[in-house]
């Protein structure tokens, strides 16, 4: 008996649960369920000017600063979207794709801060540079939003930023030339040669004539010098010949050095005697003038030459022992002349 009412209560509970499930299922299937979850339905969504805003009485407005700008300047236009229930899901309108804006301005998006949770409005900031001086306004921006409270089919509503905001574009100020930069090069580069010498065609090279000239000049000058020397110093020429004899050359050298000897006449006499012994086989005992003369006579020397040799040795003896006799220089000259005479014989 007690089981019957329990079963009835169970059935009532079951029916209640079922009805709740059906209601819940139907609620889920109904489009308005998207409304409550703040999802904007794709069905009926505008293809343009819709940026995902949802809410009731969404408003948009431009805030433009400054209103007057130079031709090469920029204004900052801030789009303010308020009363949206989903501010974090609103996408930034791309003004570059809107001819009304892109024809008037060079558009640069500013980096906006992230919209915080619970915010009541969203701001999108743009830098707009007028393309020319004819640009006179920031145009109206159409803005669709989704109103979940509106009847089905009229939930996407269009609003806008109101009237276009007039702006004034003035002429760009004259550009100041960039500050001149000095030429930082070494000072010596700023110095150059000037004058007609720069038009020379030669590099400083010499022609063949210069080499031929100097080649011929050497022998000709040497020959000229030799001829002149022969004419100016005929004795010297003869003296030069005696240098062909080694004994004569040594004797002349000894005579030349005799001036520095302690007793020049003795040195000159010794040099001549040494020469005679080298040239002629004089006996070792022939040391006095007369002995030398006799020895040379025995060897066949002409009397005049023999007498000249003996006379020279007498002069030397006189010079050695007589203070008033010939000096060493005249003896040396006589000795060289005597050697030249004997060499020529």
């Amino acid at each position: 008996m007690k089981d019957e009412p329990r079963t009835r209560a169970d059935k009532t509970c079951m029916a209640r649960r079922l009805s709740i499930a059906v209601i819940c299922f139907g609620f889920i299937l109904h489009p308005s369920s998207f409304i409550l979850s703040q999802e904007v339905p794709l069905v009926g969504q505008p293809t343009e000017d819709f940026y995902g805003a949802a809410g009731s009485g969404v408003k948009v407005a431009w805030n433009v600063e400054p209103k007057e700008v130079t031709e090469d300047g920029e204004i900052v236009a801030t789009l303010i979207i308020s009363n949206a229930s989903n501010p974090t899901k609103i996408t930034r309108p791309d003004l570059k794709k809107l001819p009304a804006f892109s024809d008037r301005f060079v558009i640069t998006d500013n980096a906006d801060p992230k919209v915080p949770e619970g915010a009541t409005e969203v701001r999108f900031s743009y830098r707009l540079r007028p393309r020319n001086r004819q640009t006179d306004q920031v145009p109206t921006l159409n803005f669709y939003y989704f109103n979940p409270a509106a009847p089905a089919g009229k939930q996407f509503k269009l609003t806008n930023t109101g009237r276009a905001i007039p702006i004034t574009v003035t002429a760009a100020p004259p550009k100041l030339p960039p500050a001149p930069i000095p030429l930082a090069e070494a000072d010596h580069l700023f110095v150059i040669a000037t004058g007609p010498a720069l038009l020379n065609r030669g590099s400083g090279a010499l022609g063949g004539w210069a080499w031929w000239g100097v080649g011929l000049a050497g022998p000709l000058l040497a020959l000229g010098w030799y001829v002149a020397w022969r004419r100016l110093y005929p004795d010297a020429q003869r003296l030069a010949k005696i240098h062909r004899s080694r004994a004569a050359r040594r004797a002349v050298d000894a005579i030349q050095r005799a001036s520095h000897a302690a007793e020049p006449p003795a040195a000159i006499a010794a040099a001549l005697l040494h020469y005679l012994r080298a040239r002629f086989p004089l006996p070792l005992g022939a040391v006095t003038p007369s002995e030398i003369g006799e020895a040379l006579g025995e060897l066949g020397m002409p009397t005049a030459d023999r007498e000249a040799v003996a006379g020279f040795f007498r002069k030397c003896d006189t010079a050695r022992f007589s203070p008033s006799s010939d000096n060493a220089m005249s003896l040396a000259t006589d000795a060289r002349a005597l050697i030249a005479l004997l060499e020529a014989a």
Partner: protein, 275 residues
């Protein structure tokens, strides 16, 4: 007669082989010197100064093309190009001047200075690979006139020694003459050897890079780079072959690679210095 600077500049900018009758050599020289002077006066404004120096360089280039090839003009060309900001053209001008007057010390120093101005990377050994060694030879140390004076003097002394020997019959004079002749022979052989080396160097065409460029392993931009770093403008190299708008180069360090033909400035036909 003075030629208006602008007119002359227009004529010169038309190209090196302008129609005859054009401005005379003296007029071009006056124009170049005036432009250089303007550049010096505008030294505090590099943009204007470089423009004036570029005009001056154009004038000096024209004179060089007309055959006024002397060391002073080569140095003026180099200075004008360098001050105009065209370092590669300055290096070309100096190389051409040295080819004409290798003994000129001013040109040698200016070339060394210009090579120092090439912007090699601070790291790596690119500078050792690219920098050509300084050419040292008797022709870089002695001008033909100096050689002529020295050789002539030695020859005269040799002849004088022989003459003196004939007069005095002293062997020392003959020895002196022989020493002078030997000195002459040494000098002559040094010149001969130097001439051979220069002739050998002349057989290889030298080029200068006009701008920074990547040295590649092949004659196309698809080939990988031969070196990690770009070759800076002003680098001198030997041209080996040219194929398909590309030039094969050999750097001073021996590395071989390819660069676009448009990236190099070629030295003009160089003149062999005459003794």
């Amino acid at each position: 007669m003075r030629v208006p600077g602008i007119a002359l500049a227009l004529v010169l900018s038309a190209g090196p082989a302008f129609a005859s009758p054009g401005p005379t050599d003296a007029e071009i020289l006056a124009f170049a010197e005036e432009s250089f002077s303007q550049g010096v006066n505008l030294r505090d404004d590099s943009r204007k100064a470089r423009s004036a120096f570029a005009q001056s360089a154009t004038g000096y280039d024209e004179l060089w093309q007309r055959g006024h090839r002397n060391p002073k003009l080569a140095l003026n060309r180099a200075h004008s190009h360098r001050l105009a900001g065209n370092l590669p053209a300055a290096i070309v001008a100096l190389n051409e001047g040295i080819a004409v007057s290798p003994w000129n010390r001013s040109l040698q120093l200016a070339l060394e200075d210009a090579r120092n101005a090439v912007a090699y990377p601070l790291t790596g050994d690119l500078v050792t690979q690219c920098r050509p060694p300084a050419t040292v030879g008797i022709s870089t140390r002695m001008s033909p006139i100096e050689a002529w004076v020295i050789a002539g003097l030695m020859w005269l002394l040799a002849c004088g020694g022989v003459a003196r020997f004939a007069m005095t019959r002293r062997p020392a004079w003959l020895l002196w003459g022989v020493v002078c002749v030997v000195g002459l022979a040494v000098l002559g052989s040094a010149w001969w050897q130097d001439s051979r080396e220069r002739q050998h160097a002349k057989e290889a065409t030298s080029v200068v890079l006009a701008h920074d460029v990547v040295l590649r392993k092949g004659n196309a931009s698809t080939y990988p780079a031969r070196l990690d770093a770009k070759l800076p403008r002003g680098v001198e190299a030997r041209k080996l072959v040219e194929r398909g708008g590309w030039i094969q180069l050999q750097l001073a360090g021996g590395i071989v690679g390819w660069v676009p033909a448009s990236a190099v400035l070629g030295l003009r036909e160089l003149e062999e210095p005459q003794l």
